[in-house]
């Protein structure tokens, strides 16, 4: 019995993809040319799977801020904030995030993954109850295993099921903490947040909303789904990431709850990891400024999202339930997803493959994400490549029906 024998089936699949020369889980970019183009295997490739929603990774103001911060504060922080001290940038970014959301407290984590780990594991302690949407991101599931609360999952986007579960817990002691996401990363669907907020109020639970994929995308000022749904006051904590709309790496949480400062000495994923380096903090702060002052980015992003969604819909692909910057085509099998992915890449278009158990209901997905930096011509070109590859593989709905 060798150490990796338990992964034999998965290892065989991975080897197969490597041998076919088309492994979506091991893509090596050469030079990245812009938010929308990179060199892949020596060829200029259109990027349609980067979560670079506002396209700010090459924004001149963002790059200048990062360079300046490196010059003045060095390359790394070489330690954690509780043990080795915070830099000025950490506090400034936290203040900016709190100001943007109109909240009292802001807290920065070293990745978005750790923000969920750090907030969720600290909020729900021993004797408390954590209720997760069934389609929650892996970081939320992992967070639920890091803490000591009792964890149950409710049906995806079902306020009724959440209410049922809170009703069963009504006589149990302990706090009840509910976790939902703004936009779900696999199918691009949004939560019925107004209805969740009503259930949360009825049962006296706390509500945490992960806006990782909705910050900079939804809401009148880009704060996310809670803003769009008009229920920010019911969302006790907003969690988010810097690695999508904000073009960096890191995560954050904001709240109005009194006493939230204590999280800095109880949240292990905050305490026992190195803090973000000055360049990343300054770049994120600059990107947040761009997000706040250039609403046109959000409008372009959403126009691109709708353009791609409608285009793929017209071709006959079965898509997620609503247009969003995440546009996922539901494939008949993992093999079909690999086939389409490889054909698109060969044609010069980079997308993503998502497979169970990372996806809901055992779905195999060919996932795309659009950027404000895409030109309409690039989106149209991508749709044309989907048409060609989809047709040659028999994946367009009209052709699949004809083949039956």
């Amino acid at each position: 019995m060798a150490l990796f024998d338990k992964y034999a089936a998965l290892a065989a699949q991975y080897r197969q993809l490597e041998e076919a020369g088309a492994n979506p889980f091991n893509v090596q970019f050469g030079d990245v040319l812009s938010p929308t183009e990179a060199m892949l295997a020596g060829r200029k490739t259109l990027l349609l799977g980067t979560n670079n929603y506002l396209g700010l990774t090459y924004d001149p103001a963002v790059l200048a801020a990062a360079a300046a911060a490196t010059s003045t504060s060095g390359s790394g922080t070489t330690g954690s904030r509780i043990a080795n001290g915070s830099y000025g940038g950490h506090g400034r970014l936290e203040a900016d995030l709190a100001d943007f959301y109109g909240r009292k407290h802001g807290m920065v984590f070293s990745t978005g993954y750790q923000a969920n780990l750090g907030i969720i594991s600290a909020l729900a302690g021993k004797g408390d109850h954590l209720l997760l949407d069934a389609d929650s991101h892996a970081s939320i599931y992992d967070a639920s295993r890091l803490g000591y609360a009792q964890v149950t999952r409710f049906r995806h986007n079902s306020p009724e099921d959440l209410a049922n579960r809170l009703r069963r817990l009504a006589d149990e002691p302990g706090d009840k903490v509910v976790i939902v996401e703004g936009i779900y990363s696999m199918l691009g669907d949004t939560a019925p947040l107004k209805e969740f907020a009503a259930v949360k109020r009825e049962y006296g639970a706390y509500l945490v909303v992960d806006e990782a994929h909705s910050l900079g995308v939804l809401g009148a000022t880009g704060r996310g789904l809670a803003e769009q749904a008009g229920v920010e006051a019911d969302c006790d904590f907003i969690v988010g990431t810097f690695s999508k709309s904000l073009a960096g790496v890191g995560g954050f949480a904001v709240t109005d709850m009194a006493g939230a400062e204590v999280l800095r000495v109880v949240s292990r994923p905050y305490m026992f990891t190195a803090s973000l380096p000055p360049a990343n903090i300054a770049a994120t702060q600059a990107a947040l400024h761009e997000l706040r002052t250039r609403p046109d980015l959000r409008h372009r992003l959403n126009a691109n999202a709708l353009r791609l969604y409608r285009g793929l819909e017209r071709l006959g692909f079965e898509l997620g339930p609503e247009p969003s910057p995440v546009v996922s085509a539901i494939m008949p099998s993992p093999e079909a997803a690999f086939g389409l992915w490889a054909a698109l890449l060969k044609a010069g278009l980079y997308t993503n493959v998502s497979l169970p158990p990372a996806t809901p209901r055992g779905l195999a997905l060919l996932r795309s994400s659009v950027s404000a930096a895409h030109s309409p011509a690039q989106i149209d070109h991508a749709i044309a490549l989907f048409a060609e590859a989809g047709s040659s593989l028999g994946l367009l709905k009209s052709e699949m029906a004809a083949a039956k």
Partner: protein
């Protein structure tokens, strides 16, 4: 065996048969992951059906401890009695 245990077993086995792509023999000794080829999410989805039918909530750590259908029957029975 109590009436409640056999009723719970009936609900669990019936729900599982309906969720499987093809009918197969099930017993208390059936391993849910190895014998039925369900992944972790499919198991949690199947437990959700049972939760609805019996009006209970099964915490994830309890699901993680379950290996066989017999384990699941026992876990669900304990939760139902506590409810």
């Amino acid at each position: 065996m109590s009436d409640q245990a056999s009723e719970i077993r009936e609900v669990i086995f019936g729900t599982l048969q309906a969720a499987l792509p093809q009918a197969r023999p099930l017993s208390d000794e059936t391993h849910i992951i190895e014998d039925l080829g369900l992944d972790s999410v499919a198991v949690m989805d199947f437990v959700m059906e049972i939760e609805d039918k019996l009006d209970i909530s099964v915490p994830l750590d309890k699901i993680a401890e379950v290996e066989t259908l017999g384990d699941l029957v026992a876990t669900v029975q304990r939760l139902k009695q506590a409810a």
